[in-house]
Subunit: 392 residues, 2 copies
């Protein structure tokens, strides 16, 4: 285990009806609120009206609507202008990872003289920040309980991340019933995203991290158990609750602290999203099992076998390679059984830009050292190419 620093300072209010505490948690930060949200689903499901009613005339609410699924730099800049113009005290982010991520960039950007895109090159440029309160409406990115943010620059076709502990929401309201109306496609993309965060930390070179890995295995089992149940019955409160809490804990430092290393699949997927604007979780689901198979070798087989045993209940035998192969197949088949399109073609990606995207991956991220298995541009191209056809 490596040395680490852990703090989960976000005050989580979890469960049905926690919205009743909204005014109490918002008030200490001030009266001027920037309300951020996405495509308007919160208007359809009644949450928007509920928030407006609760904030009433006590708060001055300015709105930034229409935050994109892959939130764009221009939207961040628009938010920064609003915060400065209206002397915003607190950002109320209502939505999923995109809305919260965008709100983080706005929070830091408000006090930064340059282009907020600079943060993606150097997180230490984040100085003063505006407090964020979030109301989560989809279980996926974990942004509600950490300081990370991913922003897309359509001009340069780049999707890059930055982070600061100060950007973690001060309070997050997690009411599983707000995710009842999440469509099937977004629900399974969210589950794939949660799993990917767990995989990226789990398949790692640091040894003796049984605490972190045991937690990750438990959260993986949770996602595999409950995802089919919510796809079947979107209003299954207990299933939604477990997925929601798993999403927050998957990326709040619990499974990654004490490990050194660089994530692999997110680096590759960010290129797919940047070039084709596909849903992040779907891209991850497509790439991950190919990446696993590509990484499977005599050195890594033990970890994949353990994964299969702990997560898929594959019986322990002396043939670790067979256990590992079975685990990778189950990873693929689970995504497929949920209904995820498991080839690039099905999400509109052909082979024309694979080369360019592989090149961009290694440009944006060190992939040939520090990753679970070192990957060159050629390896990445091979994984992209494998993703064009069915695995089984």
């Amino acid at each position: 285990m490596k040395n680490f620093n852990f703090q989960a300072a976000t005050n989580i209010l979890f469960g049905k009806g926690q919205i009743e505490k909204l005014v109490d948690v918002l008030a200490p930060f001030g009266k001027n609120v920037l309300l951020t949200y996405g495509g308007g689903s919160i208007k359809r499901n009644g949450l928007y009206a509920d928030i407006q009613e609760k904030l009433g005339s006590e708060f001055n609410v300015i709105e930034l609507a229409g935050i994109e699924p892959n939130p764009r730099l221009e939207t961040v800049k628009k938010g920064v202008s609003l915060c400065r113009e209206h002397k915003i005290d607190v950002i109320l982010a209502v939505g999923g990872g995109s809305t919260i991520d965008c709100s983080k960039a706005i929070s830091a950007g408000t006090f930064y003289e340059g282009n907020p895109w600079d943060f993606t090159n150097d997180s230490s440029l984040v100085g003063e920040t505006l407090p964020i309160v979030s109301i989560l409406t989809i279980a996926a990115t974990g942004s509600e309980m950490n300081g990370g943010s991913v922003i897309t620059n359509l001009e340069t076709k780049e999707k890059l991340s930055f982070g600061s502990r100060d950007l973690a929401p001060k309070v997050s309201i997690l009411d599983p019933s707000y995710t009842f109306s999440v469509p099937k496609y977004q629900t399974m993309a969210g589950s794939a995203d949660i799993l990917s965060h767990l995989f990226e930390n789990y398949f790692n070179q640091t040894t003796d991290t049984m605490v972190q890995d045991g937690i990750a295995e438990g959260l993986m089992r949770t996602v595999y158990h409950y995802t089919p149940l919510v796809l079947e019955n979107p209003e299954d409160y207990e299933a939604r609750a477990n997925l929601m809490w798993a999403s927050s804990l998957a990326l709040n430092g619990l499974t990654g602290s004490g490990k050194a290393g660089i994530w692999s699949c997110h680096g590759m997927e960010h290129e797919l999203s940047a070039y084709y604007d596909i849903t992040h979780g779907i891209g991850l689901a497509i790439i991950t099992p190919r990446w696993m198979k590509y990484c499977l070798n005599e050195k890594t087989v033990g970890k994949f076998a353990e994964f299969g045993h702990r997560v898929f209940d594959i019986e322990k035998t002396n043939n670790q390679m067979l256990m590992a192969e079975k685990a990778i197949e189950l990873t693929y088949q689970s995504f497929k059984s949920w209904g995820i399109p498991m080839t690039l073609g099905e999400v509109g990606i052909d082979d024309s830009l694979l080369d360019e995207m592989a090149s961009q991956t290694v440009k944006h991220k060190t992939m040939d050292q520090g990753t679970f298995v070192p990957l060159t541009q050629k390896d990445i191209l091979a994984i992209f190419t494998d993703s064009l056809v069915e695995m089984y």
Copy 2:
């Protein structure tokens, strides 16, 4: 899953050499430091000298030494007097759960006009508090990452708890190498204590808590894996690190949030400690397997079987009762194999006060509802009596 509120605000500095940050983390709170510690082991292992050197002449350090393994009310009162007299700004608690628990009572007691014992009757009496920075020297209670405290009143033979989120240490330095010198007896008592915290939350009536239970199972496997390794080689850094981090996460809300219910074994053990001043973890190890067996019935068998499968790798079969019995036996035999005295007689407790302690248990704690299995005074006496003789 029940509604809950979660926040892990303690800033954890984990790993070898983190003491180098001590001055930086202490300074923001002020110059007047109350240094609290126990029986002097930190003088023998060099930590005391290291702290003194680091604090140097920059801080005014007042000492409260000799905090007991079951910290006493009189010691709390002594600490309160010191804090008031010397206008203490921050308490630096160096030790294990006893020292940190005592420091919490001092922290709250400093601003309370009445007897700090009152807190054990009503935690809401905790008002203003002094900040606490802790340096952990034994993996056991989890007090380094939560707001709970257990205090003993020798006069009334009572050992009772209270808590407030404000009492959680602001910063905790967790350097596993500080636990190298923990003797074998305290090491295994600590591991039993960690397991007990996990058991108490795990064996619970709330359903659909796979997130919490999966985390608990991972932490239990960690304790079972690494405890024999540290008993064999006390300076195994990786093993000490996993036990230390498991101890903090076992009781910081992760495995208990979202569940309603009352702990059983702690209620019974607190009477043993209050009457006989035995080591808390040892008392828990003795009581727990008897309690498990007493609770095993057709309604609870599924949970015990799952526990056995996930934690001890017992193969899943249709005979859940056999799986459950095997799991309970392994719980007992593991403690025994570490070297824990597994009967009350071995820790100097005979049958003379069992009746009185059973009566006190139900006086101090509601045990007949809200617990995993309701327990009457008669049931508790039976569990105490079972603890007089070997189980297998």
